[in-house]
């Protein structure tokens, strides 16, 4: 490369999507740029102007406007524009204006096309926002713990080693004594180095194969063999082995491919354990289950509260191991439900059995299985219709208080809106709950429903599941038939809007204002969840989880084809940003929250977040259009 283009190459190499290019392609870009200067306030592209190159901002800032004249985006050093037009009709769709004095590098179209053809990541970046998000989310999913955890992590003890000449009875005895379910069978070494291993004593042996519990059933008992049959006779030869530093994912694939459930694990030539397929499955769900197990063994509410550090630690660990937002939400909701159930068990143990049946109902994020580490409690009691307030309410109030106080001690702060079972309004028999929901469905206005949307994410945590299922059914059958209800919900779902994106260390608002911080829940995940809920209600889905709801929505024609997929990726991405930043806060011993400072958001994250915000904004507009307020009925 010519040294003089280093200047340009170095700058390009710091910014997406050029940062991923091969050296050769990057050299070609640096070699091929032209330049142009624009004074602050001057037009770079007027509407429908021909576009024949990709624009790269070397210095300054550029505003991109919508056709309406509203600010669409504010771009800064290292950003690109014009790619949208290059991929389509070569006309400027959105006018561009220099916001500051700006120096642009111009990358010719032919080279742009070559970059798209030769570099997949570059193509993903410049193509429609959504595929880009999709690839990021999928890439992240690919990075999940299966991809990074090594086999050795699952090995907890050395393998049982038996000699091929040992009788099946003695071998079975050794396996039983070791509380194992399989053993490695060794024989004298032969010429094939593939099966040569180093035994404990440093001697060279041959790994004949692996013998498992089922082999004793199949090859000994079922075939009526004698107890003194040498174990070497029943072992299937050619044991597949796996090295301890291999990736779990690869090991699992190898087991599936070879149709085996056990594999000897070697460190170089030394056998260090046996990997069971079930270990892998358990590992994937380990964290949540393990904590749930501990929660149910705590003797009182105080002991439960002491688990808070463990909950936080496992949250951070899951994030580090690459769990996605859906997995995180499910795991944390499982933990939250376990706390609730255990508190109910403890309360019932003290207060006696309930006088009438009840369902303890979760609302909001717990009902959706989308909890994070920062969550308040939203719950209610649905009581049997035989409930008599004068006789029974003292019991249920006491029950509700114990759960609510216990949850608060475990880190689930009280609901500031009073949506808790301790509130008499939300501690009612099933018939009253049905009236509540029927009233919301029949007499909806955006104002009346403003604080009710949380009730439309509901699930039973404990007790009579059927009570809550009846309410879910009532909503699912009533909502699609009430355009006014859907319109009111749609209206409220657009109250909280996303920002435009980021500019340097600021959050850019649509009106051009700048903020120093962004609440990614209020401006991102919550409105996304809100709009998914409206579509789910419209299609009569009883699903509560946003991703499940999107599956149901995708079965209908409520949304244009492919849109529910895009919403899924956007929700997943924003959720992960929120979760990652919470994990970072916990690692730094800071209280986790929902606010993120732009300077803590990486350049790639910014681009993707901006795309997700844009998608949310478009989806909100579509919502208004899809569920209009019926004429003359306001």
């Amino acid at each position: 490369m010519q040294p003089e283009v280093m200047e340009i190459r170095q700058h390009l190499s710091r910014f997406a999507p050029f940062d991923v290019l091969s050296d050769e392609l990057l050299d070609t870009v640096a070699d091929s740029v032209d330049a142009a200067y624009f004074k602050a306030g001057s037009d770079i592209l007027t509407r429908d102007a021909p576009v024949t190159e990709l624009y790269y901002i070397r210095s300054g800032a550029v505003d991109i406007f919508r056709r309406s004249g509203a600010l669409h985006n504010r771009l800064e050093e290292g950003d690109i524009f014009g790619h949208f037009s290059l991929l389509r009709n070569h006309r400027a769709h959105f006018p561009a204006k220099a916001m500051e004095d700006t120096l642009l590098y111009l990358i010719p179209e032919a080279l742009f096309e070559r970059l798209c053809a030769e570099d997949e990541q570059f193509a993903d970046f410049v193509e429609l926002d959504q595929p880009r998000l999709k690839s990021v989310v999928e890439k992240h999913a690919g990075d999940a713990r299966m991809m990074t955890t090594r086999v050795r992590k699952l090995i907890t003890r050395p393998p049982v080693l038996v000699d091929a000449t040992l009788s099946v009875q003695d071998a079975a005895q050794q396996i039983t004594d070791a509380h194992a379910s399989a053993a490695l069978v060794l024989a004298e070494p032969d010429d094939n180095p593939r099966h040569t291993i180093l035994a404990e004593d440093g001697q060279t042996r041959r790994l004949l194969g692996i013998v498992t519990d089922s082999d004793f059933r199949r090859s000994v008992v079922a075939e009526g063999r004698a107890c003194d049959t040498p174990i070497g006779e029943i072992v299937a030869e050619h044991a597949f082995t796996v090295q301890s530093d291999e990736i779990l994912q690869d090991a699992m694939l190898a087991m599936l491919r070879n149709n085996v459930k056990h594999m000897p694990v070697l460190h170089r030539r030394r056998p260090i354990g046996i990997l069971h397929l079930s270990d892998i499955v358990r590992h994937q769900t380990h964290t949540g289950l393990y904590l749930a197990d501990r929660i149910f063994s705590q003797p009182n509410a105080e002991a439960l509260a002491k688990l808070l550090p463990d909950v936080r630690e496992s949250f951070v660990r899951m994030v580090e191991e690459g769990a996605n937002a859906e997995m995180m939400g499910a795991a944390l909701s499982t933990i939250g439900r376990s706390f609730t159930r255990r508190l109910l068990e403890l309360a019932e143990a003290e207060l006696g059995p309930p006088p009438v049946p009840y369902a303890f109902m979760a609302l909001g994020s717990m009902a959706r299985n989308e909890q994070t580490i920062v969550t308040d409690q939203d719950n209610a009691l649905v009581l049997d219709d035989d409930f008599d307030p004068t006789q029974h309410d003292d019991y249920f109030l006491a029950l509700a208080r114990r759960v609510s106080d216990g949850l608060a001690a475990c880190g689930y702060t009280y609901c500031t809106g009073g949506i808790m079972a301790t509130n008499p309004r939300w501690r009612q028999p099933l018939a009253t709950w049905k009236k509540y929901f029927q009233d919301w469905l029949d007499n909806p206005t955006p104002e009346r429903l403003l604080h009710s949307s949380i009730f439309f994410d509901l699930d039973a945590v404990c007790g009579e599941d059927a009570f809550v299922a009846q309410l879910q059914d009532l909503i699912a059958s009533g909502a699609p038939r009430s355009p006014r209800f859907l319109a009111a919900m749609a209206r409220n779902a657009s109250n909280r809007t996303p920002p435009l994106g980021f500019f340097r260390n600021f959050v850019m608002e649509k009106d051009g204002k700048k903020n120093n911080t962004i609440n990614v829940k209020r401006r991102g995940t919550a409105p996304m969840v809100d709009l998914i809920r409206v579509h789910a209600l419209a299609c009569g889905s009883t699903a509560q989880n946003s991703y499940d709801r999107l599956n149901d929505i995708a079965q209908t024609d409520l949304l244009p084809s492919g849109v529910s997929e895009r919403i899924r990726y956007a929700l997943e991405f924003i959720s992960m940003v929120r979760i990652r930043h919470q994990a970072i806060a916990l690692q730094r011993d800071q209280p986790p929250g929902n606010s993120v400072q732009p300077e803590n958001i990486s350049s790639a994250e910014r681009h993707n977040l901006k795309d997700a915000f844009q998608l949310l904004s478009d989806a909100q507009k579509f919502l208004q259009f899809r569920y209009p307020i019926p004429a003359g009925r306001r």
Binding site: V33, A35, A36, Y37, S59, E100
Partner: protein, 237 residues
């Protein structure tokens, strides 16, 4: 040169005379292709940024070691069509200049003499009005090097972004008194001029990057101060 700093018509006269009088065919072709006229607007004029890197400031003791050119107009700087030549110095390199230009003795050992690349250089510049930052260096070194080799002179009008900048900042008496009383002096170095227009810092002393930097500066000066209809005759010097 008596024409230096004088009005546009003097340059027109000079150019006409050189078209007739130049003896070397390469110079002859260059002057005949020199189409810039005093009445042209900047918008109409094909331009070429030119930068010469030298081993020092004195043409009698120092040499040109590289020349970079970048053709451009007011809309587009054609960096992709840049040319750069490394040249074997006429006088031995002094070690401090080696570090200054990122050019080593080895780079120059096999570099051609200016005479060998002159045709290429003048063809690249043909029909374009040169733009430089601080014309004295380019003019004196090219003049000296060409006179040494061909026995005739190569002098041509240029737009000097430094001279333009000095013109924009011609200061009122009060400011001059303030400066005289110890205030800072306005820097006319290429980087400092660029910074006033929001242009980024480039690492200096690559001829072709300095040429790019100069082209960008002129575009900025035109956008901010001169306007696209400024006449060549008012600007060249």
């Amino acid at each position: 040169m008596t024409t230096q700093g004088s009005a546009g018509e003097d340059w027109a006269t000079y150019l006409a005379s050189r078209q007739q009088a130049a003896k070397d065919p390469r110079l002859q072709a260059f002057f005949q292709a020199f189409t810039a006229r005093p009445g042209m607007t900047l918008e109409e004029a094909p331009l070429i940024a030119l930068d010469v890197e030298t081993t020092g400031l004195d043409p009698r003791r120092h040499s040109i070691i590289s020349i970079g050119v970048v053709p451009f107009d007011l809309d587009r700087i054609r960096f992709s069509q840049r040319r750069q030549w490394l040249l074997k110095p006429r006088f031995p390199l002094e070690s401090h200049s080696v570090t200054l230009h990122h050019i080593t003795h080895a780079d120059l050992a096999h570099a051609p003499d200016l005479d060998e690349v002159l045709e290429d250089l003048l063809q690249a510049m043909a029909g374009r009005l040169p733009v430089v930052h601080y014309r004295s260096i380019e003019r004196r070194f090219l003049e000296s090097a060409i006179r040494f080799r061909l026995g005739e002179s190569l002098v041509f009008p240029v737009i000097d972004t430094m001279a333009l900048e000095a013109r924009f900042h011609r200061q009122p008496l009060s400011a001059r008194i303030r400066r005289w009383l110890g205030g800072g002096q306005l820097s006319l170095r290429l980087q400092d001029c660029r910074a006033r227009y929001g242009l980024p810092g480039y690492s200096p002393h690559h001829a072709v990057i300095d040429a790019l930097a100069t082209a960008e500066l002129l575009q900025a000066q035109v956008a901010a101060r001169l306007g696209r209809n400024a006449r060549v005759g008012e600007l060249w010097c």
